[in-house]
Protein backbone atom coordinates (compact mmCIF):
# COMPACT_ATOMS: atom_id res chain seq x y z
CA UNK A 1 0.00 0.00 0.00
CA UNK A 2 1.80 3.20 -1.09
CA UNK A 3 1.60 6.31 1.00
CA UNK A 4 1.26 3.84 3.92
CA UNK A 5 3.24 6.28 6.04
CA UNK A 6 0.61 8.96 5.72
CA UNK A 7 -2.35 6.65 6.11
CA UNK A 8 -1.17 4.66 9.10
CA UNK A 9 0.15 7.93 10.43
CA UNK A 10 -3.28 9.50 10.34
CA UNK A 11 -4.75 6.56 12.27
CA UNK A 12 -1.90 6.73 14.76
CA UNK A 13 -2.38 10.47 15.28
CA UNK A 14 -6.14 10.16 15.70
CA UNK A 15 -6.24 7.14 18.01
CA UNK A 16 -3.06 8.17 19.81
CA UNK A 17 -4.45 11.62 20.67
CA UNK A 18 -7.68 10.06 21.94
CA UNK A 19 -5.73 7.54 24.04
CA UNK A 20 -3.54 10.25 25.62
CA UNK A 21 -6.54 12.43 26.38
CA UNK A 22 -8.48 9.44 27.80
CA UNK A 23 -5.51 8.61 30.00
CA UNK A 24 -5.30 12.20 31.29
CA UNK A 25 -9.02 12.27 32.06
CA UNK A 26 -8.91 8.95 33.93
CA UNK A 27 -5.85 10.03 35.92
CA UNK A 28 -7.61 13.26 36.85
CA UNK A 29 -10.72 11.22 37.73
CA UNK A 30 -8.72 9.00 40.06
CA UNK A 31 -7.20 12.07 41.77
CA UNK A 32 -10.57 13.78 42.12
CA UNK A 33 -12.42 10.77 43.48
CA UNK A 34 -9.60 9.57 45.75
CA UNK A 35 -10.77 11.48 48.81
CA UNK A 36 -14.43 11.77 47.87
CA UNK A 37 -16.65 9.62 50.12
CA UNK A 38 -18.99 7.16 48.44
CA UNK A 39 -22.16 9.22 49.00
CA UNK A 40 -20.81 12.38 47.46
CA UNK A 41 -20.49 10.77 44.01
CA UNK A 42 -23.52 12.09 42.14
CA UNK A 43 -23.33 9.36 39.56
CA UNK A 44 -23.37 6.29 41.82
CA UNK B 1 -28.67 56.59 29.93
CA UNK B 2 -26.73 55.10 27.01
CA UNK B 3 -26.09 58.63 25.74
CA UNK B 4 -24.84 59.59 29.18
CA UNK B 5 -22.31 56.76 29.19
CA UNK B 6 -21.25 57.49 25.59
CA UNK B 7 -20.74 61.20 26.30
CA UNK B 8 -18.76 60.32 29.41
CA UNK B 9 -16.48 57.97 27.44
CA UNK B 10 -15.94 60.54 24.69
CA UNK B 11 -15.31 63.32 27.19
CA UNK B 12 -12.72 61.18 28.98
CA UNK B 13 -11.11 60.49 25.61
CA UNK B 14 -11.32 64.18 24.69
CA UNK B 15 -9.58 65.06 27.96
CA UNK B 16 -7.00 62.27 28.02
CA UNK B 17 -6.58 62.05 24.22
CA UNK B 18 -5.04 58.57 24.51
CA UNK B 19 -6.75 57.31 21.33
CA UNK B 20 -5.65 60.42 19.45
CA UNK B 21 -2.07 60.50 20.69
CA UNK B 22 -1.32 56.80 20.93
CA UNK B 23 -3.71 54.53 19.06
CA UNK B 24 -3.88 56.64 15.89
CA UNK B 25 -0.07 56.88 15.46
CA UNK B 26 0.09 53.14 16.16
CA UNK B 27 -2.36 52.44 13.32
CA UNK B 28 -0.35 54.67 11.02
CA UNK B 29 2.88 52.92 11.90
CA UNK B 30 1.25 49.53 11.24
CA UNK B 31 0.33 50.75 7.73
CA UNK B 32 3.91 51.86 7.15
CA UNK B 33 5.25 48.53 8.44
CA UNK B 34 2.99 46.69 5.99
CA UNK B 35 4.52 48.76 3.21
CA UNK B 36 8.04 47.82 4.37
CA UNK B 37 7.04 44.16 4.32
CA UNK B 38 5.26 44.09 0.98
CA UNK B 39 6.58 46.94 -1.13
CA UNK B 40 9.79 45.38 -2.48
CA UNK B 41 7.94 42.60 -4.33
CA UNK B 42 7.83 43.11 -8.16
CA UNK B 43 4.52 44.53 -9.41
CA UNK B 44 2.31 41.76 -10.83
CA UNK B 45 2.20 42.05 -14.63
CA UNK B 46 -1.49 41.78 -15.28
CA UNK B 47 -3.34 44.71 -13.81
CA UNK B 48 -0.66 47.36 -13.67
CA UNK B 49 -1.57 48.02 -10.02
CA UNK B 50 1.30 47.70 -7.58
CA UNK B 51 1.01 44.85 -5.03
CA UNK B 52 0.30 47.37 -2.25
CA UNK B 53 -2.56 48.80 -4.22
CA UNK B 54 -3.99 45.33 -4.64
CA UNK B 55 -3.87 44.45 -0.94
CA UNK B 56 -4.60 47.94 0.43
CA UNK B 57 -8.18 47.16 1.58
CA UNK B 58 -7.00 44.08 3.47
CA UNK B 59 -4.23 46.06 5.14
CA UNK B 60 -6.62 48.85 6.15
CA UNK B 61 -8.92 46.41 7.90
CA UNK B 62 -6.03 44.51 9.52
CA UNK B 63 -4.66 47.76 10.94
CA UNK B 64 -8.22 48.57 12.11
CA UNK B 65 -8.51 45.24 13.96
CA UNK B 66 -5.23 45.72 15.78
CA UNK B 67 -6.26 49.25 16.74
CA UNK B 68 -9.66 47.92 17.86
CA UNK B 69 -7.87 45.75 20.44
CA UNK B 70 -6.10 48.82 21.84
CA UNK B 71 -9.26 50.96 21.84
CA UNK B 72 -11.25 48.24 23.65
CA UNK B 73 -8.55 47.80 26.27
CA UNK B 74 -8.47 51.59 26.73
CA UNK B 75 -12.27 51.73 26.95
CA UNK B 76 -12.27 49.39 29.94
CA UNK B 77 -9.05 50.74 31.43
CA UNK B 78 -10.72 54.09 32.16
CA UNK B 79 -13.29 52.15 34.19
CA UNK B 80 -10.68 50.16 36.07
CA UNK B 81 -8.42 53.15 36.91
CA UNK B 82 -10.33 54.12 40.03
CA UNK B 83 -12.79 51.23 40.44
CA UNK B 84 -15.49 52.89 38.34
CA UNK B 85 -16.63 49.50 36.98
CA UNK B 86 -17.72 48.47 40.47
CA UNK B 87 -19.27 51.89 40.99
CA UNK B 88 -21.25 51.42 37.75
CA UNK B 89 -22.52 48.08 39.09
CA UNK B 90 -23.45 49.63 42.44
CA UNK B 91 -25.09 52.57 40.69
CA UNK B 92 -27.35 49.96 39.12
CA UNK B 93 -26.69 51.26 35.61
CA UNK B 94 -28.70 49.10 33.22
CA UNK B 95 -26.21 46.81 31.41
CA UNK B 96 -27.94 47.37 28.06
CA UNK B 97 -27.48 51.13 28.35
CA UNK B 98 -23.89 50.61 29.51
CA UNK B 99 -23.24 48.37 26.49
CA UNK B 100 -24.84 50.73 23.96
CA UNK B 101 -23.11 53.73 25.52
CA UNK B 102 -19.63 52.27 25.52
CA UNK B 103 -20.12 50.67 22.07
CA UNK B 104 -21.22 53.94 20.47
CA UNK B 105 -18.32 55.85 22.03
CA UNK B 106 -15.98 53.14 20.71
CA UNK B 107 -17.70 53.31 17.29
CA UNK B 108 -17.08 57.06 17.03
CA UNK B 109 -13.39 56.65 17.78
CA UNK B 110 -13.08 53.63 15.47
CA UNK B 111 -14.83 55.41 12.57
CA UNK B 112 -12.43 58.34 12.87
CA UNK B 113 -9.48 55.97 12.98
CA UNK B 114 -10.64 54.10 9.86
CA UNK B 115 -11.05 57.36 7.96
CA UNK B 116 -7.46 58.27 8.77
CA UNK B 117 -6.32 54.80 7.69
CA UNK B 118 -8.08 55.22 4.35
CA UNK B 119 -6.24 58.53 4.01
CA UNK B 120 -2.97 56.77 4.78
CA UNK B 121 -3.71 54.17 2.10
CA UNK B 122 -4.41 56.93 -0.46
CA UNK B 123 -1.14 58.55 0.55
CA UNK B 124 1.16 55.57 0.96
CA UNK B 125 -0.28 52.85 -1.23
CA UNK B 126 -1.38 54.88 -4.26
CA UNK B 127 -4.98 53.75 -3.85
CA UNK B 128 -7.42 55.74 -5.96
CA UNK B 129 -11.04 56.39 -4.99
CA UNK B 130 -13.66 55.63 -7.61
CA UNK B 131 -16.69 57.95 -7.77
CA UNK B 132 -19.16 55.10 -8.36
CA UNK B 133 -17.87 53.12 -5.40
CA UNK B 134 -18.21 55.82 -2.76
CA UNK B 135 -21.69 54.74 -1.63
CA UNK B 136 -20.54 51.15 -1.10
CA UNK B 137 -17.37 52.39 0.60
CA UNK B 138 -19.20 54.59 3.11
CA UNK B 139 -21.87 51.93 3.75
CA UNK B 140 -19.24 49.27 4.46
CA UNK B 141 -17.20 51.71 6.56
CA UNK B 142 -20.12 52.56 8.88
CA UNK B 143 -21.59 49.03 9.16
CA UNK B 144 -18.25 47.39 9.82
CA UNK B 145 -17.51 50.04 12.48
CA UNK B 146 -20.78 49.29 14.27
CA UNK B 147 -20.17 45.56 14.13
CA UNK B 148 -16.59 45.83 15.39
CA UNK B 149 -17.56 48.28 18.15
CA UNK B 150 -20.35 45.96 19.35
CA UNK B 151 -18.26 42.79 19.42
CA UNK B 152 -15.27 44.69 20.85
CA UNK B 153 -17.30 46.09 23.76
CA UNK B 154 -18.89 42.70 24.39
CA UNK B 155 -15.65 40.71 24.67
CA UNK B 156 -13.94 43.69 26.32
CA UNK B 157 -16.56 43.49 29.08
CA UNK B 158 -15.91 39.79 29.55
CA UNK B 159 -12.15 40.23 29.77
CA UNK B 160 -12.41 43.40 31.92
CA UNK B 161 -12.10 41.82 35.33
CA UNK B 162 -10.33 38.63 34.37
CA UNK B 163 -6.76 37.71 35.06
CA UNK B 164 -4.52 37.79 31.97
CA UNK B 165 -7.06 39.97 30.17
CA UNK B 166 -4.50 41.54 27.84
CA UNK B 167 -3.87 38.19 26.16
CA UNK B 168 -7.41 36.85 26.54
CA UNK B 169 -8.98 39.68 24.50
CA UNK B 170 -7.06 39.03 21.24
CA UNK B 171 -7.61 35.26 21.59
CA UNK B 172 -11.36 35.76 21.90
CA UNK B 173 -11.87 38.75 19.62
CA UNK B 174 -9.75 38.13 16.53
CA UNK B 175 -11.37 34.85 15.42
CA UNK B 176 -14.81 36.32 15.93
CA UNK B 177 -14.19 39.30 13.66
CA UNK B 178 -13.07 37.07 10.74
CA UNK B 179 -16.33 37.58 8.79
CA UNK B 180 -15.88 41.35 9.00
CA UNK B 181 -12.27 41.10 7.87
CA UNK B 182 -13.26 38.98 4.86
CA UNK B 183 -16.49 40.83 4.05
CA UNK B 184 -15.24 44.38 4.52
CA UNK B 185 -12.05 43.75 2.58
CA UNK B 186 -13.88 42.32 -0.41
CA UNK B 187 -16.51 45.07 -0.28
CA UNK B 188 -13.88 47.82 -0.24
CA UNK B 189 -11.99 46.09 -3.05
CA UNK B 190 -15.15 46.27 -5.15
CA UNK B 191 -15.71 49.89 -4.15
CA UNK B 192 -12.18 50.88 -5.18
CA UNK B 193 -12.33 48.79 -8.32
CA UNK B 194 -9.29 46.69 -7.41
CA UNK B 195 -8.65 44.22 -10.25
CA UNK B 196 -11.63 45.86 -12.05
CA UNK B 197 -14.15 44.09 -9.83
CA UNK B 198 -17.61 45.55 -10.48
CA UNK B 199 -19.23 47.55 -7.69
CA UNK B 200 -22.24 45.23 -7.83
CA UNK B 201 -19.98 42.37 -6.66
CA UNK B 202 -19.31 44.28 -3.47
CA UNK B 203 -22.87 44.43 -2.19
CA UNK B 204 -23.18 40.72 -1.14
CA UNK B 205 -20.07 41.28 0.96
CA UNK B 206 -21.65 44.35 2.48
CA UNK B 207 -24.54 42.01 3.32
CA UNK B 208 -22.16 39.81 5.33
CA UNK B 209 -20.84 42.79 7.29
CA UNK B 210 -24.37 44.12 7.87
CA UNK B 211 -25.63 40.77 9.20
CA UNK B 212 -22.57 40.60 11.47
CA UNK B 213 -23.30 44.08 12.83
CA UNK B 214 -26.98 43.26 13.50
CA UNK B 215 -26.17 39.84 15.02
CA UNK B 216 -23.55 41.20 17.41
CA UNK B 217 -25.56 44.31 18.16
CA UNK B 218 -28.41 42.11 19.38
CA UNK B 219 -26.05 39.49 20.85
CA UNK B 220 -24.25 42.23 22.74
CA UNK B 221 -27.41 43.72 24.20
CA UNK B 222 -28.48 40.29 25.49
CA UNK B 223 -25.09 38.94 26.60
CA UNK B 224 -23.37 42.02 28.06
CA UNK B 225 -25.36 41.98 31.33
CA UNK B 226 -24.53 38.41 32.38
CA UNK B 227 -20.91 38.80 31.24
CA UNK B 228 -20.19 42.04 33.12
CA UNK B 229 -22.01 41.17 36.33
CA UNK B 230 -20.06 39.39 39.03
Amino acid sequence: MEDAGFIVGSYAVALGAIAVYAWRVLARARRATADLPEDAKPWT
Amino acid sequence: MAGLVARKDLRVEGRGRVALNQVLPFAFIVMVMFAFALERLPTPANTGDTLLELVAPGLIWLATLFSLLLLVQRSFAIEADDGALDALRVAGVDPVALFLGKASALAVQLAALEAVLLGAALLLYGTELRAGGVVLLVATWLTATCGLAAVGTLYGGLAAGARGRETLLPLLLLPVVAPVLIGATRAVEAALGIEDTAIADGWPWFGVVAVFAVAFGAGGVLAFGPLIDE
Partner: protein, 242 residues
Amino acid sequence: MDGAVIELVDAVAVLGRFPALAGATLTVAPGEILLLRGPNGAGKTTLLRLCAGLLPLARGQGRVLGFDLATQRTAVRPHVGLLGHRNGLYLDLTVAENVAFWGATAGATTGEVAAAVTRLGLVGRLADLEVRRLSAGQARRTALACLVARRARLWLLDEPHAGLDAAARDELDATLREATAAGATVVVASHELERAGALATRTVDVVAGQTRDAIGGLGAGRPLSQPSDARQPSDESDGGLA
Protein backbone atom coordinates in the same frame (compact mmCIF):
# COMPACT_ATOMS: atom_id res chain seq x y z
CA MET C 1 -38.93 52.74 55.96
CA ASP C 2 -40.03 50.97 59.05
CA GLY C 3 -38.15 47.64 58.91
CA ALA C 4 -34.43 47.22 59.44
CA VAL C 5 -32.15 48.48 56.70
CA ILE C 6 -29.90 45.42 56.86
CA GLU C 7 -30.86 41.94 58.13
CA LEU C 8 -28.20 39.23 57.75
CA VAL C 9 -28.59 35.74 59.20
CA ASP C 10 -25.50 33.48 59.02
CA ALA C 11 -24.54 35.03 55.69
CA VAL C 12 -21.62 33.37 53.89
CA ALA C 13 -19.80 35.00 50.97
CA VAL C 14 -16.90 33.43 49.11
CA LEU C 15 -13.91 35.06 47.41
CA GLY C 16 -12.68 32.44 44.97
CA ARG C 17 -12.76 29.41 47.29
CA PHE C 18 -12.02 31.30 50.51
CA PRO C 19 -15.07 31.91 52.73
CA ALA C 20 -14.21 35.56 53.49
CA LEU C 21 -17.57 35.85 55.26
CA ALA C 22 -18.29 32.72 57.30
CA GLY C 23 -21.72 33.24 58.83
CA ALA C 24 -22.37 36.94 59.62
CA THR C 25 -25.52 37.86 61.53
CA LEU C 26 -26.31 41.59 61.65
CA THR C 27 -29.31 43.90 61.96
CA VAL C 28 -29.06 47.64 61.25
CA ALA C 29 -31.95 50.03 61.93
CA PRO C 30 -32.63 53.14 59.81
CA GLY C 31 -30.66 56.26 60.75
CA GLU C 32 -27.90 54.37 62.55
CA ILE C 33 -24.19 54.98 62.12
CA LEU C 34 -22.79 51.50 62.66
CA LEU C 35 -19.06 50.88 63.14
CA LEU C 36 -17.75 47.54 61.85
CA ARG C 37 -14.58 47.03 63.81
CA GLY C 38 -11.99 44.36 63.11
CA PRO C 39 -8.46 43.69 61.87
CA ASN C 40 -7.54 43.61 58.20
CA GLY C 41 -8.76 40.50 56.46
CA ALA C 42 -11.53 39.87 59.00
CA GLY C 43 -14.17 40.15 56.25
CA LYS C 44 -15.32 43.77 56.69
CA THR C 45 -14.94 44.66 53.00
CA THR C 46 -16.68 41.46 51.94
CA LEU C 47 -19.56 42.22 54.28
CA LEU C 48 -19.97 45.69 52.75
CA ARG C 49 -19.80 44.35 49.19
CA LEU C 50 -22.38 41.69 50.07
CA CYS C 51 -24.77 44.33 51.43
CA ALA C 52 -24.20 46.42 48.27
CA GLY C 53 -25.41 43.44 46.21
CA LEU C 54 -22.07 42.98 44.48
CA LEU C 55 -21.34 39.49 45.81
CA PRO C 56 -23.58 36.42 45.54
CA LEU C 57 -24.85 35.08 48.86
CA ALA C 58 -23.23 31.65 49.11
CA ARG C 59 -25.25 30.55 52.16
CA GLY C 60 -27.59 31.98 54.83
CA GLN C 61 -30.21 34.74 54.34
CA GLY C 62 -29.88 38.47 53.78
CA ARG C 63 -32.21 41.41 53.20
CA VAL C 64 -31.09 45.00 52.49
CA LEU C 65 -33.64 47.82 52.25
CA GLY C 66 -36.29 45.13 51.89
CA PHE C 67 -34.57 43.45 48.93
CA ASP C 68 -33.68 39.75 49.30
CA LEU C 69 -29.94 39.38 48.62
CA ALA C 70 -30.39 35.88 47.23
CA THR C 71 -32.73 36.89 44.40
CA GLN C 72 -32.87 40.70 44.13
CA ARG C 73 -29.27 41.74 44.66
CA THR C 74 -29.17 43.73 41.41
CA ALA C 75 -32.34 45.59 42.39
CA VAL C 76 -30.87 46.79 45.71
CA ARG C 77 -27.86 48.49 44.12
CA PRO C 78 -29.29 51.85 42.99
CA HIS C 79 -30.34 52.57 46.60
CA VAL C 80 -26.91 51.81 48.07
CA GLY C 81 -23.71 53.81 47.99
CA LEU C 82 -20.45 51.86 48.40
CA LEU C 83 -17.21 53.76 48.91
CA GLY C 84 -14.27 51.38 48.91
CA HIS C 85 -10.52 52.14 48.96
CA ARG C 86 -10.95 53.42 45.42
CA ASN C 87 -13.39 56.26 44.83
CA GLY C 88 -14.90 54.99 41.56
CA LEU C 89 -14.29 58.29 39.77
CA TYR C 90 -12.99 59.14 36.29
CA LEU C 91 -9.54 60.64 36.78
CA ASP C 92 -9.62 62.61 33.53
CA LEU C 93 -12.95 64.28 34.30
CA THR C 94 -13.39 67.26 36.64
CA VAL C 95 -15.09 67.10 40.04
CA ALA C 96 -18.27 68.70 38.68
CA GLU C 97 -18.38 66.34 35.69
CA ASN C 98 -17.92 63.27 37.92
CA VAL C 99 -20.69 64.25 40.34
CA ALA C 100 -22.94 65.19 37.41
CA PHE C 101 -22.34 61.78 35.78
CA TRP C 102 -22.93 59.70 38.89
CA GLY C 103 -25.93 61.83 39.87
CA ALA C 104 -27.40 61.40 36.38
CA THR C 105 -27.15 57.60 36.68
CA ALA C 106 -29.72 57.90 39.48
CA GLY C 107 -31.73 60.55 37.61
CA ALA C 108 -30.67 63.45 39.80
CA THR C 109 -31.51 66.91 38.48
CA THR C 110 -28.76 69.49 37.89
CA GLY C 111 -30.03 71.32 40.96
CA GLU C 112 -29.50 68.28 43.18
CA VAL C 113 -26.02 67.76 41.71
CA ALA C 114 -25.10 71.41 42.40
CA ALA C 115 -26.43 71.09 45.95
CA ALA C 116 -24.33 67.96 46.56
CA VAL C 117 -21.19 69.65 45.26
CA THR C 118 -21.64 72.77 47.40
CA ARG C 119 -22.54 70.74 50.50
CA LEU C 120 -19.21 68.94 50.28
CA GLY C 121 -17.40 72.25 49.92
CA LEU C 122 -16.20 71.47 46.38
CA VAL C 123 -16.84 74.97 45.08
CA GLY C 124 -15.12 77.51 42.89
CA ARG C 125 -11.84 76.52 41.25
CA LEU C 126 -11.94 73.08 42.93
CA ALA C 127 -15.08 72.04 41.04
CA ASP C 128 -13.32 72.42 37.68
CA LEU C 129 -10.17 70.57 38.71
CA GLU C 130 -9.55 67.12 37.22
CA VAL C 131 -9.89 64.39 39.83
CA ARG C 132 -6.37 63.24 38.93
CA ARG C 133 -4.99 66.41 40.50
CA LEU C 134 -6.98 66.25 43.75
CA SER C 135 -5.64 65.40 47.19
CA ALA C 136 -6.87 62.19 48.86
CA GLY C 137 -9.27 64.19 51.03
CA GLN C 138 -10.70 66.15 48.12
CA ALA C 139 -11.14 62.98 46.06
CA ARG C 140 -12.87 61.30 49.00
CA ARG C 141 -15.20 64.31 49.31
CA THR C 142 -15.96 64.11 45.59
CA ALA C 143 -16.90 60.45 45.99
CA LEU C 144 -19.15 61.38 48.92
CA ALA C 145 -20.72 64.14 46.82
CA CYS C 146 -21.56 61.44 44.26
CA LEU C 147 -23.30 59.44 47.00
CA VAL C 148 -25.29 62.51 48.03
CA ALA C 149 -26.18 63.27 44.41
CA ARG C 150 -27.32 59.65 43.94
CA ARG C 151 -29.58 60.04 47.01
CA ALA C 152 -28.25 56.69 48.33
CA ARG C 153 -30.30 55.57 51.35
CA LEU C 154 -27.61 53.22 52.67
CA TRP C 155 -24.00 54.36 52.81
CA LEU C 156 -21.37 51.60 53.05
CA LEU C 157 -17.97 53.15 53.71
CA ASP C 158 -14.76 51.08 53.81
CA GLU C 159 -11.98 52.79 55.81
CA PRO C 160 -13.29 56.29 54.89
CA HIS C 161 -10.86 58.01 57.26
CA ALA C 162 -7.78 56.43 55.68
CA GLY C 163 -5.39 59.05 54.28
CA LEU C 164 -7.34 62.06 55.54
CA ASP C 165 -5.89 64.83 57.69
CA ALA C 166 -7.67 65.95 60.86
CA ALA C 167 -9.65 68.74 59.16
CA ALA C 168 -10.83 66.44 56.35
CA ARG C 169 -11.87 63.81 58.94
CA ASP C 170 -14.00 66.31 60.83
CA GLU C 171 -15.73 67.28 57.57
CA LEU C 172 -16.31 63.61 56.80
CA ASP C 173 -17.90 63.02 60.18
CA ALA C 174 -20.11 66.11 59.73
CA THR C 175 -21.22 64.84 56.33
CA LEU C 176 -22.10 61.42 57.76
CA ARG C 177 -24.13 62.98 60.58
CA GLU C 178 -25.93 65.18 58.04
CA ALA C 179 -26.66 62.13 55.89
CA THR C 180 -28.23 60.19 58.77
CA ALA C 181 -30.18 63.29 59.77
CA ALA C 182 -31.53 63.35 56.22
CA GLY C 183 -32.74 59.75 56.65
CA ALA C 184 -29.81 57.75 55.33
CA THR C 185 -28.18 54.88 57.24
CA VAL C 186 -24.39 54.59 57.43
CA VAL C 187 -22.15 51.56 58.00
CA VAL C 188 -18.47 52.35 58.44
CA ALA C 189 -15.82 49.66 58.38
CA SER C 190 -12.62 50.77 60.07
CA HIS C 191 -9.79 49.55 62.20
CA GLU C 192 -9.07 53.09 63.47
CA LEU C 193 -10.99 52.92 66.71
CA GLU C 194 -10.64 56.42 68.14
CA ARG C 195 -11.90 58.28 65.01
CA ALA C 196 -14.82 56.14 64.00
CA GLY C 197 -15.79 55.28 67.58
CA ALA C 198 -16.73 58.87 68.43
CA LEU C 199 -19.02 58.90 65.41
CA ALA C 200 -20.77 55.52 65.69
CA THR C 201 -24.06 54.96 67.47
CA ARG C 202 -23.24 51.24 67.75
CA THR C 203 -20.22 49.04 67.23
CA VAL C 204 -20.04 45.48 65.93
CA ASP C 205 -16.84 43.41 65.86
CA VAL C 206 -16.01 41.41 62.78
CA VAL C 207 -13.77 38.45 63.60
CA ALA C 208 -12.68 35.83 61.09
CA GLY C 209 -15.70 36.37 58.88
CA GLN C 210 -18.26 36.45 61.65
CA THR C 211 -19.96 39.27 63.57
CA ARG C 212 -20.07 39.74 67.36
CA ASP C 213 -21.92 42.54 69.11
CA ALA C 214 -19.20 44.48 70.93
CA ILE C 215 -19.84 44.78 74.65
CA GLY C 216 -21.48 48.20 75.14
CA GLY C 217 -20.54 51.24 73.08
CA LEU C 218 -17.04 52.45 72.31
CA GLY C 219 -15.53 52.33 75.80
CA ALA C 220 -15.77 48.64 76.58
CA GLY C 221 -14.48 47.28 73.27
CA ARG C 222 -10.95 45.90 73.84
CA PRO C 223 -8.45 45.89 70.93
CA LEU C 224 -8.54 42.53 69.13
CA SER C 225 -5.30 40.61 68.60
CA GLN C 226 -4.36 39.92 64.98
CA PRO C 227 -5.44 36.32 64.21
CA SER C 228 -2.24 34.45 63.31
CA ASP C 229 -3.71 32.65 60.28
CA ALA C 230 -1.00 33.02 57.66
CA ARG C 231 -2.87 31.52 54.68
CA GLN C 232 -5.57 34.11 54.89
CA PRO C 233 -5.45 36.23 51.71
CA SER C 234 -6.45 39.75 52.60
CA ASP C 235 -9.88 40.44 51.20
CA GLU C 236 -9.18 44.13 51.13
CA SER C 237 -8.27 43.86 47.39
CA ASP C 238 -10.90 45.25 45.05
CA GLY C 239 -13.21 42.38 44.06
CA GLY C 240 -13.14 42.39 40.25
CA LEU C 241 -14.20 39.23 38.39
CA ALA C 242 -11.94 37.28 40.78
